[in-house]
Each structure stands twice: as structure tokens, then as C-alpha cells.
């Protein structure tokens, strides 16, 4: 049995005697006898630490190692040794929410620096200290818009991550939110297809649009902003923190709320989590910001200090009137993103984005030279692209695994199914060529 409980049997006896109890059983005297679990927990015996490590290693080995071309919000980027070392420091790992700021300046300052960086990438003045993931960020952003406008309809571009939209549907099921999907044309949102003034529908609380979008296409925000203006709605812009190295920020193009999945910045693929919901907001909606916010202030001696602020927005104070229930967030992942982004630096982020775009372009051109492969969307792409194949995408993915590749994700775009392929800075020309040859083989 593991030794995480320090008490010896003598400790138990002595402490029980100190409080006037005769047995361990007496500690649980408040639990009625009829509710007691007879025979203890139905679980195996504990393992020695090295047996635990062996068991976990065996599980890890049961996962196939494949060269990754899958994206869809989770990308196979290199992570700096610096990020792994610093975000793994146990002072951060084993701390709690910074409720006593005098002994939590480390986490607070790191979050303040994270908020600054997210604000810069988003082009907006305020960012919170994280929500769970991109999907949750979307749900929270829509909640802000619904609360700010008093409306209950949202227009969501069909270029939005379908898992995120599913989360939005699931998590708003109790509140009659109308989600209207605006189709794309050639991979770019066709805002002309949005309900017109004569549609006798409620105006939307929010316009949701991603750039680059789920199909990898550049889907400019100014058009979405114009639709938001015409409807007096908020624009929720979904951005990609890596693409930020090249593209204009959502804030400078009119987003009121900008959100992103922060995984590409220093978080391993890790089968889907913990990831990082980045969330930035315009000043106008500051009081509706979900989650924790760190502000800079001073201590009693006038020295710089940091503290969570505008706390009256949060669930522990507002309770049933709170517009968000978030408490535990993704602080450690946010700190990792802060370190990874600092390691990349201004020029490094630009170079990272450029390298991803180069690899994507190279592979896209090569794949389009293969008979039977066509683009699923014609618009310019950045770091990910969707292709129509002459076989079912599931079959291609299954066969490509035999060739050592995770070929991508299945995707549905404008009524057609296909393969969504992402290329990161890790992929060499040799790998791209090998991927292309393998895909040509498996689809023929």
C-alpha cells in the first residue's frame, strides 16, 4: 500500500485516545449504520510506486505512435524544454487558486503576463485567466452576448468547429438558445445566406465566426463585423494563436469577444486535455467577463503586487445570479502558454506561423497533383486544408495508420465529406512527400 498517509498505527491509536474515541469506526459515527458500505471498496489492492509506473507505461505503449497530420483545434507542435521545465515546477503545479495574494504572487503575476499576451494576440484590452478549452470559451462568449443584448438567438458560421457547436447546443439546452448556422461557400462564410430583415426572426445576440475557420480557410472578420453591425449584435471572433503570427487580430477587425483554443502554445496533444480556453473582451463588456481576472496593484508598502479583481462577477459571490459557473480553470496550462509564447517571442511566433503555412501549402499542392484528390473548399488556407477523396475518409485514415500516419480528421463541408489535414512546423519535406505517396497508394 502506498505511503501517502503518514500516520503509523501508533499515531492512529494516540490521536483517537486524545479525542476520546475508542476506534476508527467511531470517527464515522454520524454515518447511519444502514448506509455503511459492507466489505469495503470493490477495488484491487494498492500497487507499489514502481508497479504503478509500469502499469501506466504499458497503457502508454498500447497507443500507436503515428506521424500526426490531424488538427481540428489540436495541433502537433514542438514544445520548448523551457516550457516543460517551468510549467512543471511544483510551486505552480501544487498551488491552489490565489485566494491569499500575499503568498500567491507567482501564479498571479504569471497570469497577469498571460492575460497581457492573450490581449495582444486578440487585439483586445482585457483577457481572463482562462476557461477550460476552446469549446467552453465559445459557450461563455455566447452567454456574454445573450446577457448583454437580452436576446436568445446566435448566428454561427458553419466554419466553426463542430464539436464546439455541439457543446454550445448541449450546455445551453436549458435556456432555449436558438442556434442558426450560416453556411459557407467555397469554405468561406456566406453571410448573404443569413436570415434577412423579412425573416421575422429575433435579431441575433452574437455573430460567431472563425478565422482561420474549421476548414483551414481564411475567413475575414470584416464581413462578419458588418453583419454584426447591421443587427446590433456582438461579434465573437474565434482565432488561432499560432495563426496570430501572420494574421490581423480579431480585435483590430471588430471582434467584441475573441476566443481561442490555446493548446497550440505549449500544451501536448494529450488526447484532448487539459487544454486552454483563451478569452478576451472589449472594455465595453468588461463587467460580463467570465472567470478570474488578475489586476496589478500595490501592497501596503507601495510595492507592485497582483490580485484577482472585479470578484463580484464570480459565482462564489453572485451565486444563482452569476452568468458563469466557472471556478476551477486551467491556470497551469495558461502558465505553460505564457512561457511557450515568451520562448517563441515576437519573431518566433511569426516564424512558427510561417513554417506551418509553408508546410500546408507544400502538401496541398502535392496532394492536388494526385488523381482523385480535390480541394473541399477553394478559399485560401493557412495551416490546415480539407480535401475530397475518392474513398470514404474513415477508410483512408484507417489505411494510412498502417503506413504510420494519422492522416487527419473526417470533415463535412458544404454537404461533402472529406479529410481535414494539418501541417505543423515539425513536419519535414521528407514526411510530407511520404504522406502524399502513402495517401495516393491507399486511395487507389
Amino acid at each position: 500500500m502506498a505511503g501517502y498517509v503518514p500516520h503509523t498505527d501508533e499515531d492512529f491509536s494516540r490521536m483517537l485516545a486524545d479525542i476520546g474515541m475508542a476506534s476508527i469506526d467511531e470517527l464515522f459515527g454520524a454515518v447511519p449504520e444502514v448506509l455503511r458500505l459492507a466489505g469495503g471498496l470493490d477495488l484491487p489492492e494498492g500497487l507499489a510506486e514502481h508497479e504503478v509506473a509500469d502499469t501506466m507505461s504499458a497503457l502508454a505503449r498500447s497507443n500507436r505512435e503515428l506521424v500526426c497530420f490531424a488538427g481540428g483545434g489540436a495541433y502537433d507542435h514542438d514544445i520548448s524544454s523551457v516550457t516543460r521545465a517551468l510549467a512543471g515546477r511544483s510551486e505552480f503545479v501544487t498551488a491552489y487558486t490565489p485566494y491569499q495574494p500575499e503568498v500567491a504572487q507567482g501564479v498571479l503575476q504569471a497570469l497577469f503576463e498571460y492575460q497581457t499576451l492573450v490581449g495582444r494576440l486578440a487585439g483586445l484590452p482585457v483577457a481572463n485567466a482562462s476557461v477550460y478549452d476552446g469549446a467552453t470559451a465559445l459557450v461563455e462568449a455566447v452567454n456574454v452576448a445573450v446577457a448583454a443584448t437580452g436576446r436568445s438567438t446566435v448566428w454561427v458560421s458553419a466554419g466553426t468547429n463542430p464539436h464546439w457547436v455541439e457543446c454550445l447546443r448541449t450546455l445551453s439546452a436549458g435556456r432555449d438558445l436558438q442556434i442558426i448556422e450560416i453556411p459557407t461557400r467555397d469554405g468561406v462564410t456566406n453571410w448573404h445566406a443569413a436570415p434577412g430583415e423579412g425573416a421575422r426572426l429575433e435579431a441575433p445576440a452574437a455573430i460567431v465566426s472563425a478565422n482561420p475557420n474549421y476548414f483551414g480557410c481564411i475567413d475575414p472578420w470584416p464581413r462578419a463585423r458588418a453583419v454584426a453591425d447591421a443587427n446590433d449584435a456582438l461579434l465573437v471572433g474565434i482565432f488561432d494563436p499560432v495563426a496570430s503570427g501572420l494574421l490581423r487580430t480579431p480585435g483590430e477587425q471588430g471582434a467584441d469577444v475573441a476566443i481561442a483554443e490555446g493548446q497550440p502554445l505549449g500544451t501536448p496533444l494529450s488526447f484532448g486535455g487539459p487544454y486552454l480556453g483563451m478569452f478576451a473582451i472589449a472594455d465595453k463588456y468588461l463587467r460580463r467577463l467570465p472567470g478570474r481576472l488578475v489586476g496589478k496593484t500595490v501592497d501596503v508598502a507601495g510595492r507592485p503586487a497582483y490580485v484577482t479583481t472585479l470578484r463580484a462577477r464570480e459565482q462564489d459571490i453572485r451565486r444563482e445570479k452569476a452568468s458563469s459557473n466557472i471556478c476551477t480553470n486551467q491556470t497551469l496550462v495558461a502558465i505553460a502558454a505564457m512561457v511557450q509564447l515568451s520562448w517563441l517571442g515576437t519573431m518566433g511566433l511569426r516564424e512558427l506561423a510561417t513554417r506551418c503555412a509553408r508546410g500546408t501549402r507544400y502538401l496541398r499542392e502535392a496532394l492536388l497533383g494526385v488523381p482523385g484528390i480535390e480541394p473541399l473548399a477553394g478559399a485560401p488556407v493557412l495551416r490546415e486544408a480539407a480535401f475530397a477523396l475518392p474513398v470514404e475518409p474513415e477508410l483512408a485514415i484507417e489505411r494510412m495508420a498502417e503506413e504510420g500516419f494519422l492522416a487527419g480528421l473526417t470533415v463535412q463541408c458544404e454537404g461533402r465529406r472529406g479529410l481535414l489535414v494539418a501541417v505543423t512546423e515539425r513536419r519535414t519535406r521528407e514526411q510530407l512527400d511520404a504522406y502524399c505517396s502513402a495517401l495516393e497508394k491507399v486511395i487507389s
Partner: protein, 512 residues
């Protein structure tokens, strides 16, 4: 009796007291942006032989940002120095005892961290087909199974990323269950001692939160519950033991009443650490349970997250669970399956997988007997500490606590008049201990909510108890306390009045 054993543990050093930190103090750590020098960088990239198209060749001109978005330009050495120094300005469980009530700040075994660092777990894309991710699916299946055994439930989802996410998921399951029966109800009952996330989640699920007053013993009484049952109550959310550290002794009767009225019982697993192997939510009559794996199952809190908030349910609710869920096939392999009436996804992928891996490693290490020992020591520690504080602090409810004890400074027999919970909390920092939770639960004035957890030794506990008594007797603290921390009392009012949420806001304010 072992002759080598020292029989006077009070002479031993308490391993959980952090009074010797820090190494060097007094200075201020600049913001990382103050280390930024144009042209400096850390990043290097692989040689890939991919053609080197320029940015202008890759991005349409109207979309290309002419200048890179400013991040920061620092050397690797400066970056590592800065963040390392920040870490030295941060209290943590690894440094010392962290008796925050309701948060279960136990020591997190290092073997769990090592497990979560395995490349074979970290490098798997969440969209990988099940056949290529059998290790992960097996882990999820086994963890779901174990959590069902611990809670007395029949099926689980691992998707919710935190306790509050689990609450909303569980309430939406409740909603789906009622909707299927064509009986859409509107109210959810919550005791006034509940965590704030409970009523917030209830509102987000489209229900009206109805607050139940605790009785004079700090418990929910069946009579109060019965008075609120009018056929429109979808369910009741309870934490048991509750946030006062007390076991809801009438739970079986409450369950009978709520079920008879057509409602469901929701178990908030925040305090499960008290009852492992003693009783199960399923035995008490609960239908839906969320667990905070970052509390009970050894997942570190990460400065506020990430955690994991799986939800387990009884058989009739299983078909509504978010999908997909892992299943074991007849041939021993694992596959994803969507429950037939699934409410849909509640996470972008499968949940906080690496946190789930840590929890599984923790369960493997402890086993049945180890987990039972966890609750025994947690409850013993809280009771022992409670007995040491009695006579100095007010104990609002005169009954033995479970895993945590709530005391008050108001009308405290051994304290100077006017001593507030905040005074005790801030003075305790100077004694080398993190503060307990203060001013919660809301039903106790000047509350100090203390949860020592099972991983603190009797020596640490003795030192903590002594420190609490000593600082309590010192009376009101004033703004000058604490004195030994990296910064003194922080001006929270100013932070809200002059909002500076980013370095750019700081620079703009200086320019004005």
C-alpha cells in the same frame, strides 16, 4: 514496542511547516515585458527542407499583419530566471501544509506526475481512431469503472473539465430525464451552505435555485425539504459531508421524500474525501454524482486548475450521458459508443485526459485499502484539530466533524474581542502555514474552514493547531500583517478601482 521509537512526537519537526522559506526576499520581480530587448529570442526551429515561401506569398495582402503582433523578446536565460523567481513567490502543497477547507489540498504523489508525463500518453491526438488509442480508451474505461465502484453508480462520463462543469452536466442529465417523462420541472433545492457554483450551475441549466436553510445543527432537515416539495422540484443538490464538515444524517429520509415527489438527488463530490469506503452516494440514494478528481483523487490543483469533474449516474440515467463513452468489446478491445439518448458533448474532446491519467495512477497506487485509509486519516486529522481548537475558537455546531472543521472568531472564548477570521488567516502566513478558507460557508459569521487532509502528519497538525491558537490570541492584525511574505497586505480595493489587467494598461496609465 519498538525501543528505537521516540515516544514524544511533539519534539519532532513538523514536515508541513514552511517557515524557512524564502531564500532571498524583499525585492520586486519585474514583469517579463521589462526584460524585453528588440532582437532577443529563444526559439529555434527544425530544418525541414520545406520551400521557404515568404509571408506575403502565403497570406492574402489584406489579411497579412504587416508587423508581427508584439509578444516579448527575451533570452532563454532571462525567461528561466524570471519564471523561476515567480515560482519562489508562490505557496504550494509541496512547500507546506495548505489547510484550505473544501479544497482538499492533499499532497499529490509524484508517481502520478510521472505517469502523466509519459510520451505515449502525451503525444496522442484526441481525434486518433479508437484502434490507435487503445491505451487511452482502456484507461478511461478502467477509471470510469473504478469511479462507479467508489460512488455506487452504474455509468460515467469523464468529459467535464472541472467540478462546476460536472454540475452543469449533471443538471442537464436531470433535465433530460424529466423531459423524457414529459415532466419539465422548474426548481432545484440547494442548502444555504452550498458552494456558489451550485446555484450558478442551476441557473445555467435553466432551473430556479431554491435555497434551503440549514437547521440549528448545520444540517438539512427532512421537514424543510418536505415543505418545498410541490411536484415542481426537479431535484436537490447536496454535498455530503456538507461544507460545514458535517454528515447529512437524514440523507436516507431526504432521498425517500425527493424520490416520492418525482425528483432526483444530485451529489456534489467536493467532499468525497471523507467517506471513501465508508459509504457511497449510491447507498445514500443519490442518482447523479460529480467527482472533483483534483480534490479526492490526488490530481494537483495547478494554481487553480486544470482539474477534472467526471459525472457518474444510476442505470436509468446512463442513456443520457454525454458521448462518446468508452466500452469494452467482447474481444477485449475498447471502442467509443454514443449513449442512445445522449445530451451531447460537454467538452471539445474527451475531457482533461492527463488529469484523468493522474487520477487513475492515484487509484492504482492506493487500492481499496489505501483509499479507505485516506478517509480515515482525513477525518481523524480534522477531529483531532477540532479538539485542539475548542476552547479558543467558537465551534458553531457541537458535533464531531468529518474531514474538515468550521470554527469562528466571533464570540470566541479564547480570543481577544474583535478578532476577525481575516486576522487569523493573515497572521498564520507569518507562521509558515497557508490560511484556511475564510468567510465560507456563508451561514457561519467569521468562519475559518479548515481541512488538514490525510497527508499531514500528527506533528504538522500539532504545529498548525498551536499556530492557530497563538495567532488567534494575538487579536486584530491590522494592515501590517503579514510581514514575512514576498509582498505585504495587498490593496485589493485599488485593483478594482484602477483596473490594470495587462502590462499594456500599466504602460498606458504611466504615460497619462
Amino acid at each position: 514496542m519498538n525501543p528505537h521509537q521516540d515516544q514524544s512526537p511533539v519534539l519532532k519537526a513538523p514536515g508541513g511547516r514552511a517557515a524557512s522559506a524564502p531564500l532571498m526576499g524583499g525585492g520586486t520581480e519585474p514583469a517579463i515585458f521589462e526584460f524585453s530587448v528588440p532582437g532577443r529570442r529563444c526559439a529555434t526551429f527544425r530544418a525541414t527542407a520545406v520551400p521557404e515561401w515568404s509571408a506575403a506569398e502565403l497570406v492574402p495582402p489584406e489579411e497579412l499583419r504587416p508587423e508581427p503582433v508584439p509578444v516579448v523578446e527575451v533570452s532563454e536565460r532571462d525567461l528561466v530566471g524570471h519564471v523561476t523567481r515567480l515560482s519562489h513567490r508562490q505557496y504550494s502543497v509541496d512547500l507546506g501544509s495548505y489547510p484550505l477547507g473544501s479544497c482538499t489540498m492533499k499532497y499529490n504523489p509524484k508517481v502520478c506526475e510521472e505517469a502523466a508525463a509519459l510520451e505515449g500518453l502525451r503525444s496522442v491526438h484526441p481525434g486518433a481512431p479508437a484502434a490507435q488509442a487503445q491505451g487511452w480508451l482502456e484507461l478511461f474505461w478502467a477509471l470510469s469503472d473504478a469511479l462507479c465502484r467508489v460512488t455506487g453508480m452504474q455509468a460515467a462520463t469523464l468529459q467535464p473539465a472541472a467540478g462546476a462543469a460536472g454540475e452543469l452536466t449533471g443538471l442537464l442529465l436531470m433535465r433530460a430525464w424529466h423531459a423524457q417523462r414529459g415532466d419539465l420541472r422548474h426548481k432545484v433545492l440547494i442548502p444555504d451552505s452550498a458552494h456558489g457554483t451550485n446555484p450558478a450551475s442551476v441557473s445555467l441549466a435553466g432551473y430556479q435555485a431554491v435555497s434551503l436553510p440549514s437547521d440549528e445543527h448545520g444540517l438539512v432537515s427532512p421537514e424543510v425539504v418536505a415543505r418545498h416539495l410541490d411536484g415542481d422540484v426537479a431535484g436537490i443538490m447536496l454535498t455530503n459531508p456538507n461544507t460545514l464538515g458535517l454528515f447529512e444524517e437524514h440523507i436516507a429520509e431526504i432521498a425517500r421524500l425527493v424520490h416520492a415527489d418525482g425528483g432526483l438527488l444530485y451529489y456534489d463530490g467536493a467532499n468525497l474525501n471523507a467517506i471513501l469506503g465508508v459509504t457511497r452516494p449510491g447507498d445514500m440514494g443519490f442518482d447523479i454524482v460529480h467527482l472533483n478528481l483534483h480534490k479526492t483523487f490526488g490530481v494537483p490543483h495547478g494554481g487553480g486548475g486544470p482539474g477534472a469533474g467526471p459525472v457518474a449516474v444510476t442505470e436509468p440515467l446512463a442513456k443520457f450521458l454525454p458521448g462518446p463513452v468508452p466500452t469494452r468489446c467482447e474481444d477485449g478491445s475498447y471502442a467509443w459508443k454514443d449513449p442512445e439518448a445522449s445530451i451531447g458533448r460537454v467538452h471539445g474532446w474527451h475531457g482533461n485526459s492527463l488529469a484523468l491519467a493522474r487520477a487513475w495512477a492515484y487509484i492504482l497506487a492506493n487500492g481499496a485499502e489505501g483509499l479507505e485509509r485516506v478517509s480515515q486519516a482525513a477525518v481523524l486529522n480534522a477531529n483531532w484539530l477540532a479538539s485542539r481548537l475548542k476552547g479558543t475558537f467558537t465551534t458553531p455546531f457541537d458535533r464531531p466533524p468529518m474531514h474538515e472543521v468550521v470554527v469562528s472568531t466571533k464570540h470566541a472564548p479564547g480570543l481577544a474581542e474583535g478578532t476577525r477570521a481575516l486576522d487569523v488567516a493573515k497572521r498564520l502566513l507569518d507562521e509558515g502555514f497557508h490560511s484556511p478558507t475564510v468567510y465560507f460557508p456563508l451561514v457561519v459569521p467569521e468562519a475559518l474552514m479548515i481541512e488538514p487532509t490525510e497527508t499531514e502528519s500528527p506533528e504538522t497538525l500539532a504545529a498548525l493547531a498551536e499556530a492557530l491558537v497563538v495567532v488567534g490570541r494575538q487579536g486584530p492584525a491590522g494592515e501590517g500583517v503579514p510581514t514575512s511574505t514576498p509582498v505585504g497586505r495587498v490593496d485589493e480595493a485599488r485593483a478594482a478601482r484602477v483596473l490594470l489587467p495587462t502590462w499594456d494598461a500599466v504602460v498606458a496609465a504611466q504615460d497619462r
